[in-house]
Amino acid sequence: MTYVEAVPMTYTPHTPDDVEAMLAAIGVGSVEELFADIPESVRLRRPLEVEGPMGEAEVYRFFRSLAAQNRTVHDLVHFVGAGAYEHTIPAVVQALISRGEFLTAYTPYQAEASQGNLQAIFEFQTMIAELTGLDVAQASLYDGATAAAEAMLLAARVTKRRRVLVSRALHPDVRDVLRTYAFGPDLSVDEVPIDARTGATDAAALAERLDKDVAAVFVQYPNFFGVVEPLDVLFAPVREAGALAVAVANPLALGLLAPPGALGADVVVGDAQPLGVPLSFGGPYVGYMAAREAFVRELPGRIVGETTDGEGRRGYVLTLQAREQHIRRERATSNITSNQALMALAVTITLSLLGKRGIEDLARLNAQKAHYSLQTIEARTPLRRVHTGPFFHEFLLDVGVPAKELLARMCERGFVAGYDVSRRYPEYPTHLLVAVTEVRTREEIERFAEALAQAVSGS
């Protein structure tokens, strides 16, 4: 093993004199001696075959050229959502979360030196509880899909039951992740069909499947097809059957829609990406979970509580840690340690900027632009919305040809026209899911309808 010397840019500050002095203090002759515990036969006797080293300028060039191979929301006008949404992110958000004190901190184990993170998380918990209409919230999960999986495990613990019902209008990624997580604890995940006309979860089919084995029922709000589910109607029999009613909600929509907590949900989970987190090709995003007070000790992950110091000053600490893996080990509510605190901070700052009125204005504007888009499309093309249920900012169109074909034609015209639903729903072979957010302008919407008209007529 040889001591490596001439490497550009390594971010290690040691001069040769430092190394010598440190080795002398330790009482060894070489760095190699410090690795004496590693058996000879497993030591790597050649340099790693990895790329680099590159100087900063070269790293810029490398990634610039890869980034240039992508076509972003600035290159084509996007009408695609299906679980990740393009929204305006106030400049303030990036500026604040880039501060080194936030960016380079770790989990706030030492409360007195981490009041910034702890208080921000307490604010996040408050905002999520407010939006969802539930009592308590925790401090962020990886994404909406894993948040749903944690809710499933919570429901199985609370009810001691082993079966979970999921609406077929629940995001396919979320359904898949539930199935994956169900494999370990041996839970079963069964689907509830969609009412083909309204696009909402079939209430009669749900009631039929409810029995004493059902731990939880998952309904998305608004659902994968954009439909605003009648949560109160769906959840009433769920609670009667002793199962937990879990809503998977887009938190932005909750600025306009009645909070799930008021419609009978016991737990609300979701992805807070729409509130200040960049698209970033799918992550990092941030999951959230809110619940009724009764389940607070069953929540996974970090929870921040208010307390005081010796002089009575208010402060915040990580609390209810007896649920967590570092204390409870195999009996913990979850194995979560690192989560998405920085993304939760971005959400907290975004919600602070939006405020009480702004969140409603933004949610309403999203819905209005989506409704306007549908009107315009229906007026100028032969395309019609498939479902009749009320919708928020996403809707399903039958485009009459495989959606992939139409998407390709629309790309040539400068649009990403939506999501090819056949990728995950064989029953919708020629269907396109269109999402419209506040970033779309009236002019873009009109050009989109025109382009669709041309593309469907094949001209």
Partner: protein, 487 residues
């Protein structure tokens, strides 16, 4: 400090939507029952107030950029700023995960390139970049184990975990449907080989895996790793490596070469992406070839000149999260590898180990040192001598360190060391910093002798004093309520 809600003034706003009035006439056919009746109680503040509030909060927070952060097993190294810059390129940041594949070829090339480099660093045949954190990687790893034995028709339900392991190991085992059985460490701080032999015999045919952290949480290399691997494999079980401490091994030794079948790497530790106050990180998992078919979807596959995301794989455990991973974090990890290159990565390990041994040499007479060096990238001391002599606990010492401007080390972990202090300096710290930190700890022990109350009542210089954890847990206050609603 005030909460953002307490700065609220009715009617004040930071954001208005200028084109909202022109869409106001568009009717929404949402039934009344599903329209929100009262707005959520979010703050009503101006943009400047938001900036000042969160800037003030940041100033009440300690990060690596603020000062030395020797939190053991967390590898709080300096994060080169260029990583942030490249991850925020528009071509990455503003890229939709559901855009057609032709539009995201650059992103898929990033994922494929990082995968290739990680395979080499880990000495593994296949890598999944999907896990969102180290513990998520552990969970995936154990799901792979479960899927592997399920296909072979073997009923193995036991996972062995050393008593020095991170709490995530047994917690992940439980989530994946296994029973965790604890193995003791020997007097040298390593896994007790005899205990391993007994456990494998006692649970013959039932052990699915041994989860081993290497170097372990005492900062010691498991020098009997080859024998351990042999025993585990003889018993038909798999060997999992918790890669939390991989920083010590970069370019020096590879998990795959030591006999590990599965390993996760915490990119926010080893590959220097910032920890973000607890996340986001990422926890890619590497496996030997015989486990590759079980890896989760989607997987990036090269198809001639283009990349494609494969969503269907018959033996796959399925999907473990949405979309194709924490892409933004993975870009940073890739950039970190490129900046360092083969020799730079090896130097990371060498300097991390040098720093740890140097700091250990400065402190091993001040505190009890339960295990002799050389250590790897971190070490564990015990404050039991200080406690016995002065009544001052390790917790008190840690809090007093805050007054000296240092973030405390990890304390009371691993559980097998009394009054533990687990210190990890990392390779990015200069000798002067280590000298100053050691001097501070010695000064605190001195204070503990002369004025123990001063130490026990620390910290004295932070925005709040020592906080009452018991009160917080007994009657949890987990959210703010406006005064009217608190009534």
């Amino acid at each position: 400090m005030k909460l953002i809600f307490e700065r609220s003034v009715p009617g004040r706003r930071a954001i208005e939507f200028l084109d909202a009035p022109s869409f106001a006439d568009v009717p929404l056919d949402i039934p009344e029952a599903y329209v929100r009746k009262a707005p959520p109680e979010l703050p009503e503040v101006s943009e400047l107030e938001v900036v000042r509030h969160y800037t003030a909060l940041s100033q009440r927070n300690f990060g690596v950029d603020t000062g030395f952060y020797p939190l053991g097993s967390c590898t709080m190294k300096y994060n080169p700023r260029i990583l942030e810059v490249v991850a925020s390129f528009e071509g990455f940041r503003d890229l939709h995960p559901n855009a057609p594949e032709e539009l995201v070829q650059g992103a898929l090339a990033v994922l494929a390139g990082l995968e290739r480099n990680l395979r080499e660093i880990l000495g593994m045949d296949a890598v999944s970049l999907l896990p969102a954190a180290g513990s998520h990687g552990e969970l995936l790893g154990l799901m792979l184990v479960r899927a592997y034995f399920a296909e072979r028709g073997e009923q193995r339900d036991v996972v062995l975990v050393p008593d020095s392991a991170h709490g995530t190991n047994p917690a992940s085992a439980a989530m994946a449907g296994f029973r965790a059985v604890t193995l003791p460490s020997n007097s040298r701080g390593r896994l007790d080989l005899e205990a391993l032999r007994r456990a494998l015999a006692e649970h013959e045919g039932r052990v699915a895996a041994l989860m081993l952290t290497n170097p372990n949480t005492l900062g010691l290399f498991e020098d009997q790793i080859l024998e351990i691997a042999e025993r585990v494999h003889e018993a038909g079980a798999l060997l999992y490596m918790d890669g939390a401490n991989l920083n010590a091994l970069l370019g020096v030794a590879r998990p795959g070469d030591m006999g590990f079948d599965i390993v996760h790497v915490n990119v926010h530790k080893t590959l220097g992406t910032p920890h973000g106050g607890g996340g986001p990180g990422a926890g890619p998992v590497g496996v030997k070839g015989f486990l590759a078919d079980y890896l989760p979807v989607p997987r990036v596959v090269r198809d001639g000149e283009r990349f494609t995301l494969v969503e269907e794989a018959p033996k796959s455990v399925g999907r473990i999260r949405s979309f194709a991973g924490s892409f933004g974090v993975l870009v940073k990890a890739y950039a970190y590898i490129l900046l360092h290159g083969p020799e730079g990565l090896r130097r990371v390990a060498e300097r991390a180990v040098l720093n740890a041994n140097y700091l250990f040499s400065l402190l091993k007479d001040t505190f009890a040192a339960p295990y002799p060096g050389p250590v790897m990238h971190e070490f564990v001391l015990s404050g039991k001598n200080v406690k016995a002599e002065t009544g001052v606990r390790t917790l008190d010492v840690a809090k007093r360190l805050l007054d000296y401007g240092f973030h405390p080390p990890t304390i009371y972990f691993p559980l097998i060391v009394e009054e533990a202090l687990m210190i990890e300096p990392t390779e990015t710290e200069a000798k002067e910093t280590l000298d100053a930190f050691a001097a501070a700890l010695r000064a605190i022990v001195d204070e503990a002798r002369r004025d123990p109350e001063r130490v026990r009542s620390a910290p004295h210089t932070t925005p709040v004093g020592r906080l009452d954890d018991v009160k917080a847990a007994r009657r949890p206050v987990l959210r703010y309520r406006t005064p009217e609603r608190a009534q």
